[in-house]
């Protein structure tokens, strides 16, 4: 139970799987509905939806930029933290655990404000960079738990076999353990990716021009609150639905691979 909880940190989307009849069909309904609604609004309610759509379009790119850069950094941090969390060196282990405990104890939005405004004067970084740093630091802690769970899911015998051949700790980890662990790690990483994409909406507060910021700009200017937020929500929905299907397919593939 404990083990399972830590690998399944995700607040990502609800991943549709064939074994979950309801969710599987709900996915189809949702994606059809969302895509249909967007197309209908864009083509048949062109005013004002076309204007809004064009205005927010470049925000989608920023959203993806922040997401992808952050997940890459978070994976790197997560790897280090995960290795630290399974380390036999008590100081290293404790440092990694404390990082996880502290970061997970503070709301992401507070971390964003902290990094941007509080530390902003010391490290004078670009807003996008600050956003990516904050997201990475935060998700690094979650990712660390994913990596840790992935690593500990590999049988102890593998480590013993590698060590008895003469590999040192590092070689054992990188040649034997991690190449096997990625099967376990990849689906939750996919889930974290989705969760992170949703959480990038928070960077809009730092005046980063992501999808939500663009929506806020046009709605506060045109007073088309209902129309704008409807469209923005639909766009987010379509993106996460597609990604969650991707994760679901990946999960099925990997579990198939694991069986063979």
């Amino acid at each position: 139970m404990n083990e399972a909880r830590t690998i399944d940190v995700g607040e990502g989307a609800a991943i549709p799987s064939r074994s979950d009849w309801g969710l599987f069909n709900a996915w189809t309904i949702s994606i059809t509905g969302a895509v249909g609604a967007i197309l209908y609004l864009y083509f048949f309610q062109s005013t004002p939806y076309k204007r809004i759509a064009h205005y927010v379009a470049d925000g989608i790119i920023i959203t993806f930029q922040v997401t992808i850069m952050s997940i890459l950094c978070a994976c790197c941090i997560g790897l280090v933290v995960g290795l630290g969390r399974v380390s036999k060196n008590k100081a290293v282990n404790l440092a990694a655990s404390t990082y996880v405990e502290v970061i997970r104890g503070i709301p992401l939005l507070v971390q964003l404000f902290y990094i941007y405004y509080a530390l902003g004067r010391l490290l004078n970084v670009h807003d996008l960079t600050a956003a990516v740093i904050a997201m990475s630091v935060c998700y690094g802690a979650y990712m660390g738990e994913v990596f840790r769970a992935g690593i500990t899911s590999i049988d102890k015998g593998q480590t013993e076999a590698a060590r008895s051949l003469g590999f040192n700790t590092k070689q054992t980890m990188f040649l034997v353990i991690l190449p096997q662990a990625w099967h376990t790690i990849l689906p939750p990483v996919g889930n974290e990716f989705i969760a992170l994409l949703k959480d990038t909406s928070l960077v809009s507060i730092l005046a980063v021009s992501d999808l939500l910021r663009r929506g806020r700009e046009i709605s506060s200017e045109s007073f088309l609150y209902f129309e704008t937020y409807t469209l923005v929500a639909l766009i987010y929905l379509v993106i996460t639905l597609i990604l969650s299907k991707g994760v679901s397919i990946m999960e099925a593939r990997l579990s198939h691979y694991a069986r063979q």
Partner: protein, 255 residues
């Protein structure tokens, strides 16, 4: 004047009062009408939150004085700027007192009181910046508060590296001080306040952006809400006539 308006407490208290408002304060049946003003209270010196968590400022004092003259009760409610007009349309409050510039676009969806005063748009830059107009800032980043007339001034200007919108004008100023952006456009009272009080040593006013139209600020009400509009206008006219308005201006060291 500041002491006189100490009634307004934390958010909760305001809510309670708001809920009672339609019942016209049963404790005092013949009492004056209460008008709830929404305010983005992060806009010094016009309206901001002080250490006692009260909404204070120049425009607040003006409204309070006008209320006294016109016989209504003014209550202030802190609302985030980028949704402030949505809330008015939804009837969450009766009016907006938040340095709202009177524009034709806004007039299409709400009604305005008589102008309180006129303002100008000012360009604020770092003390070392040499540029004295927008053109001189090409290739650099500029910011303004989201959904304001300040933002409209720069929105369509080409040549900036980035045009950034902020939830609060203070956050834009903070980014300017930090160096994340090189210029901020803001209403004149706000620009003066930040460049003289808060960050006098780091930022300065580079220019006043000339416009062919006079920009006035006023109180916004829901379209057709004549009752409130009349009360506000009556109060404003009264304090302008008897010199109270100028006195408040002096108190707040406004030019």
């Amino acid at each position: 004047a500041v002491l006189a308006l100490g009634v307004v407490g934390c958010g909760e208290k305001k809510e309670e009062k708001k809920a009672e408002a339609p019942a016209a304060a049963p404790a005092a049946p013949a009492g004056p009408k209460t008008i709830i003003f929404a305010s983005d209270a992060a806009y010094p010196p016009m309206q901001y939150v002080n250490d006692q968590k009260e909404i204070v400022g120049f425009e607040v004092d003006v409204i309070k004085a006008a209320a006294e003259k016109a016989g209504f009760k003014a209550e202030f409610k802190n609302v985030a700027w980028d949704g402030i007009f949505a809330g008015l349309a939804a009837g969450k409050y009766d009016a907006i007192s938040s340095s709202v510039s009177i524009t034709d676009e806004r007039k299409a969806s709400m009604d305005f009181s008589d102008p309180i005063m006129s303002i100008e748009q000012m360009l604020v830059v770092g003390v070392k910046e040499k540029a004295t107009d927008l053109a001189g800032l090409k290739g650099k980043s500029i910011g303004a508060q989201i959904g304001t007339t300040s933002y409209l001034v720069i929105k369509d200007v080409k040549g900036f590296k980035a045009i950034k919108t902020y939830d609060e004008v203070g956050l834009a100023m903070e980014d300017l001080v930090k160096g994340s952006i090189q210029a901020v456009v803001a209403d004149s009272p706000v620009a003066v306040d930040y460049t003289t009080k808060k960050h006098a040593d780091k930022i300065k006013i580079a220019a006043t952006l000339k416009s062919d139209k006079v920009e006035n600020i006023g109180i916004a009400v829901k379209k057709g809400n004549k009752e409130v509009l009349d009360l506000v206008n009556k109060g404003l006219a009264a304090i302008k006539a008897d010199g109270t308005f100028d006195k408040i201006k002096e108190e707040h060291k406004m030019k």
